[in-house]
Amino acid sequence: MAINLNTAVVESREQRLGTIIAWDGTASRLSKESAYARGGCGSDCGARRLCELSGPFTQGSVCSEQMVECQAGNVREAVLIQHSPIGCGAGQVIYNSIYRNGLAMRKLPVENLHLISTNLQENDMIFGGIEKLEQSVRDAWERHQPKAIFIATSCATGIIGDDVESVAKKVEEEIGIPVVPLHCEGFKSKHWSTGFDATQHGIMRQIVNKKPKKKQEDLVNVIALWGSDVFTPMLKELGLRVNYVVDLATVGELEQLSEAAATVGFCYTLASYLAAGLEQEFGVPEVKAPQPYGFAGTDAWIRELARVTHREEKAEAYIAKEHARIAPKLAELRKQLKGIKGYVATGSAYSHGLIAVLRELGVEVNGSLVFHHDPIYDSHDPRQDSLAHLVDHYGDVPSFTVSNRQQYQFYGLLQRVNPDFIIIRHNGLAPLASRLGIPAAPLGDEHHALGYQGIINLGETILEILAHKKFHQDLAAHVKLPYKKEWLDLKDPFALVKAENLLDTERA
């Protein structure tokens, strides 16, 4: 399904990609069942969708609005209005801290983020919150003279039906900068990654230069979060420059997205929509390759990027140089990590990449939890099938689980494979692992494991983290888990789900 920028509201992941949030099996089976989406067959469902589990017990997840905060809210020179009661604004705290640390890591001036809550009250639920929204948009302009103003909707404004579009249009005409509504009501999508898409949808509709005067043939869009600048040195080898978006970018850097020679990302979960949209709407080619993790992925990724930007000969030299450079260190790490078992519990496509890196390091990976699964990405191109790439190049993962950060299931999942450490990014799972004596490597810098150097980085991080085991094992001996013994004793983390599905298939 092509990306449709004519509508103000982004289509959710589940509508566009058939995204699921609960599944349990092997990586190879999930890959095979997802093949329907690329026109293959093999879905056990017999339908053109993946079987999805759905049960009665769920723990707090994450919503699309949070992903809008962490993207649109982290654009420099812009303001994000949260059109909501004050509680949605709580997110300002975490995304401010991450923004500040991200700026520091990229050696940019550190500042607080610019988020304003319209602070809706009970009366506004009855009479509507449109006037307050207009006031807050004007406040944003008066206070900061931003280059763009984003508006995030909320569950409350979605239900009361506030006409955000007309306010945005009216003020935009008056002040002459883009005022961009981002529709991201939490209840509208079962997975938060729709919030990435909502932000990127708004950026493509209202910020990106529609008719770029020039093309920058050496500029590559890198769809990232706050990660350290590992792309500049890599791309420099090919004579390319980096345009990091969306987080930490200036509005100008978002405008020039359409001028670039290519688009890449560190994770297809994040990059899928924007990269495909830039190609479809502005002819900026998306690099269709495995993600740049491990030798196989990084080699293929660099070759494809070089092909798209016509720099093939430089690529081969760089690849050969890097293989040789990291070989001795890698051999040493493989020795040190022999017999170690790891578990990856991260976002979907990111996990596919990290497992590859762990296997390059000789770490055994028998299990992984991903928060959702997209059977296909927006490009619909099989070269981006990150799960198939993992299975084909690095072998199967016997316990592969889709569970949108459901801590109660994580206990059983860890028991299956008894890892020595876990890798995480999102919060919520490591605390349980800790209480079981298992240390976690939190990849706050999402570029840490990327490319050739990333293999070494991750290996060294694992050695550091394994040392933490002493802390976690000491703790594990002294805490009681909040879960009932009857639940913990069940071998199957999906036992409740399956019992429920027998009784009621409606909720699927």
Binding site: G55, P56, F57, T58, Q59, G60, S61, V62, C63, E65, P85, I86, G87, C88, G89, A90, G91, Q92, V93, I94, N96, S97, K107, L108, P109, V110, E111, N112, H114, L115, I116, S117, T118, N119, L120, D124, M125, Q135, D139, R143, S154, C155, A156, I159, E185, G186, F187, K188, K190, W192, Q407, N427, L429, P431, K480, P482, Y483, K484, W487, L496
Partner: protein
């Protein structure tokens, strides 16, 4: 980098603006954030009936990026949520809540569950009360509070939760009272970054003078059994400018229980000893034991202070002379009182940020006007950080850079004013807090260490 930072700050201008509905850089959350008040009681687990992000938003921001306090037993990512979808919006979510509660009973080990609703449920009008009462009738320890985000902030939500537990779980009581037992209603759990350590110190000093203390929240609480004992207590102690007063009024009506309201949370020996004497007088306890405890604590306190005074009297490189406090009224008043009366620092600007209900503001204001026998100061009420920073920028702090007791939001402002920042309230994203306390006898010394490590540490 430091240079770039300074250059960037200098380049910024901040137009003077008027108050509107906008809140920039939030300092409180909404009522569903009172899920923390449930999780703060040992053995209690909240169940949230709301959108998919509400529970995460609350704990990631209020308990993680605020001192990195951690969710404890039943908070954090443990909290069940209906994660409402379009289906619950269109058809109502009562059935889904019923299903979640039933499943929670199978999975989670809790002494009491507290159901909190979000905007979605309160807007579509789910009959949460009747769903919860089905379980109550089966003997399940469970209560509910309607805490939709538009109903008020997390301070308001806190009292909705405490009253829900009292009315729906603690229940009726007409028996005798236990002389010398007190229920303490003080800091807002988790929102106040130091609540765990502070409640521990409050309990310690009240026990020191001979009281039996139901501290109700935090690691020193005995959990639901302590809550069951609430009606038996001789009296309630509301130790905060206003939070807890509603609950105390409710308890006065419900259990015919008197309350003592002390607006100033004590920091330092002077204030703490005075506080203890007031409580002892109200309770009618033997003053001899109290005085013995006070003497013992003061002896220890002033020994430490004596050694500290070498530094305070003759440190070469200057110490801050004026201060600003930006924070909720409880800590704001407590700190101002301590800094003015016991350290002799000059108040520059005090801004209260939690939007206290109108009816309490005059009394709070009065506290500042009589902050010391010879010092009167003013206080502002403001919850929009842009205006808060505007007010601080307009304050004349004199020749020396001020010390700001504030939050992460003031980090850049402190740099701009070339002053020091001590993060003392929500959000404190650059503090790691485990058991630290800034109140009472012991906490005051920790606070002094923090203040002067911050200023001395930044000197060269």
């Amino acid at each position: 980098m430091a240079n770039a930072e300074i250059k960037n700050i200098k380049a910024k201008t901040f137009p003077i603006v008027q108050k509107t509905n906008s809140i920039q850089q939030i300092r409180y959350s909404c009522s569903i954030s009172a899920l923390h008040s449930a999780a703060a009681i040992p053995g209690v687990i909240p169940i949230t009936h709301c959108g998919p992000g509400c529970a995460d938003k609350q704990f990631m921001n209020v308990s993680f990026y605020n001192g990195f306090q951690g969710g404890g037993y039943g908070g954090g990512a443990v909290v069940p949520s209906t994660n409402a979808t379009e289906k619950e919006v269109v058809f109502g979510g009562a059935e889904r809540l019923r299903e979640l509660i039933a499943a929670s009973l199978k999975v989670l080990d809790a002494d009491l569950f507290v159901v909190l609703t979000g905007c979605i449920s309160d807007l579509v009008g789910d009959d949460v009360g009747s769903v919860v009462s089905e379980f109550q009738q089966q003997g399940v320890p469970i209560v509910f509070a309607e805490t939709g985000g538009f109903k008020g902030n997390n301070f308001i939500g806190h009292e909705l939760v405490t009253q829900a537990i009292i009315d729906q779980y603690v229940g009726e009581y007409t028996g005798p009272k236990e002389k010398g037992t007190v229920n303490v209603w003080s800091l807002l759990p988790f929102h106040n970054t130091f609540w765990r350590g502070d409640l521990t110190e409050i309990k310690r000093i009240l026990e020191g003078v001979g009281l039996k203390v139901n501290i109700l929240f935090g690691y020193e609480s005995e959990g639901v059994s302590e809550w069951k004992n609430i009606p038996k207590a001789q009296f309630n102690l509301v130790l905060s400018p206003w939070l807890g007063l509603q609950t105390a009024h409710h308890l006065a009506e419900k259990y015919d229980q008197p309350y003592l309201h002390i607006p100033v949370i004590p920091i330092g020996a002077q204030e703490t000893s005075a506080f203890l004497r007031k409580v002892v007088e109200f309770s009618g306890l033997d003053t001899a034991q109290a005085e013995r405890f006070i003497t013992q604590e003061e002896t220890s306190y002033y020994h430490y202070l004596e050694s500290f005074s070498d530094f305070y009297a003759e440190y070469w490189w200057g110490l801050p002379a004026k201060f600003a406090v930006v924070g909720d009224s409880a800590y704001n008043l407590a700190l101002t009182k301590f800094l003015v009366n016991q350290l002799g620092i000059i108040p520059g600007k005090q801004i209260i940020t939690e939007n206290p209900p109108e009816e309490y503001r005059a009394a709070i204001h009065q506290q500042y006007q009589t902050i010391a026998k010879d010092v009167s100061t003013d206080v502002e009420f403001e919850d929009d950080s842009y205006l808060i920073h505007q007010s601080i920028r307009q304050t004349k702090f004199g020749n020396k850079a001020p010390i700001i007791f504030g939050t992460t939001w003031e980090r850049d402002l402190a740099k701009e004013l070339k002053g020091a920042i001590v993060e003392v309230g929500f959000p404190a994203s650059y503090e790691v807090v485990i058991s630290r306390s800034y109140i009472g006898y012991r906490g005051a010394l920790t606070l002094l260490e923090k203040i002067y490590t911050t200023t001395v540490g930044a000197s060269a």
